[in-house]
Point group: C2
Amino acid sequence: VSVVAENTARNAAFIGLDWGTSSLRAYLMDASGVVLAEERRPWGIMQLPPAPQDTADTQAHAGFERAFDDICGTWLQHQPDLPVLACGMVGSAQGWKEAVYLDAPASLDQLALKLTRVEHSGGKHLHIVPGLIQRGALPDVMRGEETQVLGVMATTPDAATLLIGLPGTHSKWVLAGQGGIAQFTTYMTGEVFSALRQNTILGRTMQTQADVAPDDAAFMRGLNVALSGDSEAGLLSQIFSTRTLGLTGALSGAAQPDYLSGLLIGNEVTSLVKRYAGSAPEIVLCGEADLCRRYALALHTAGFAASRLAPQATARGLWQIACAAGLVPEI
Amino acid sequence: VSVVAENTARNAAFIGLDWGTSSLRAYLMDASGVVLAEERRPWGIMQLPPAPQDTADTQAHAGFERAFDDICGTWLQHQPDLPVLACGMVGSAQGWKEAVYLDAPASLDQLALKLTRVEHSGGKHLHIVPGLIQRGALPDVMRGEETQVLGVMATTPDAATLLIGLPGTHSKWVLAGQGGIAQFTTYMTGEVFSALRQNTILGRTMQTQADVAPDDAAFMRGLNVALSGDSEAGLLSQIFSTRTLGLTGALSGAAQPDYLSGLLIGNEVTSLVKRYAGSAPEIVLCGEADLCRRYALALHTAGFAASRLAPQATARGLWQIACAAGLVPEI
């Protein structure tokens, strides 16, 4: 073990895990929440590390334990008592252990009170952040995003109410203030885009070029179709234009993915216009950089005031919850 | 060859082919357009019969010729000069030979004037019906449905204008009168349903039971969500409720496919409401029986007057076009 690693571990006070469907990240933090080290693995809950050759797992949690040991076992060797807090799909029914859904609206303190403890067969343990459920005729749920939102709020002035956009496979729009998370809505925009592109006729004429800059003109063209009030035919019809504009030579195969992306994000933003036009709180975007850039473009085009970009905030959110739960000593 | 088959062939005057992406149907008709025999094969343009063992096709049309010979070769043995007319994706760029797109609006006579002739290497030939294109900011196209619509119009009183719904993988809504096809719109409803069910997280909690009656209550529930004005979050958000209603125990896995179907068909019908509410011409549905029943339910719930069901009309449409093109002698 190098001197650097030993010093790093010696100052550590907390490990946070961002554990989703397709990836796992670990943050080693000191007693004031500063990130000392960060690790990343492909061990999402749907692709855990396999059992050693010629053996088979007898217990469902074995794969989760291997992933856990692989990403933060070294850190824990130095300080076996470091508290560990995880958020995301690791707390789902398909995860390591099912964590409760807390009813929204919910505050930081309410979330911190309802952590789910998981025992590791090696004698260690960790905690999992609850998910949020919003009940009603059409319920909505989140797991992981609540932590990201609390991270964003930790760097926001006291009085502010924010509309936080988290674009991605399932993009979430969350209304939050210092009281916590008030309301949220999920849009399956990213996953629908992938399914249309990979599994419908629309993909057949698309050309995908690796390492080519996004085609903003094509994106804006799709966006404007979605935002224009006269496209009364709706999304199920609009998307067919990706193909017909190709057939008529008006949209190249290379431009079709960005055009379809504009159509879909435009439909999502149209719904925000219906809900918030003229009365939107400050908008903050948090997610993958180029996707946030597209959403910012879409929001601006739809008439919203400039949106602010927040850096990835899950590590900060895990720290906030750990403090509120008393997992780490207050300085 | 049986006596029946010989007699059938002797009275024959025309062969019509309904040749789509996933299936091929052939109709043998007499000199007054009565169907004498019907054959069906799985030889859609994407799944043509393979080359004989240990051989490889050197020409792209070989598979089309094998499919053609397999489905109507026997009929042509008896009467090699029978005229043959095909419609559908066989005339697309991926088909046997690309047939022109005619600009909509288009009449029966205009379609009949623009048939594309295809030579068969065995010395026979056939004709392909043109597709239709509707130009504009968002172009739309059809191949095969124009023939179906002309078939429906052939049994409709002279003065009538109809709104003809053709539900399916890509459902089409066509405004037609005796002057021909005036206007049409495509909705990718069926294909989006399949992609969401097979290729997104929504499919994971769905249970599919073979030979179980459709769950109309679940369908109506999804339909009412889509039709209710207050679902301002839009389709990309609404579909997520298929999963969340399952998570909260409010919608069984077996009911989820029908609920999602109701959501999607409801979105399609919502767009018809925006376009035609209060001023819709008579509505006729033409397609697979249970799907038409669902659309009839959806149209009724959305406030449209009762819709009429038309039997499958492609054979009738092929006959109409063959007569107008002079392929068959007038009686």
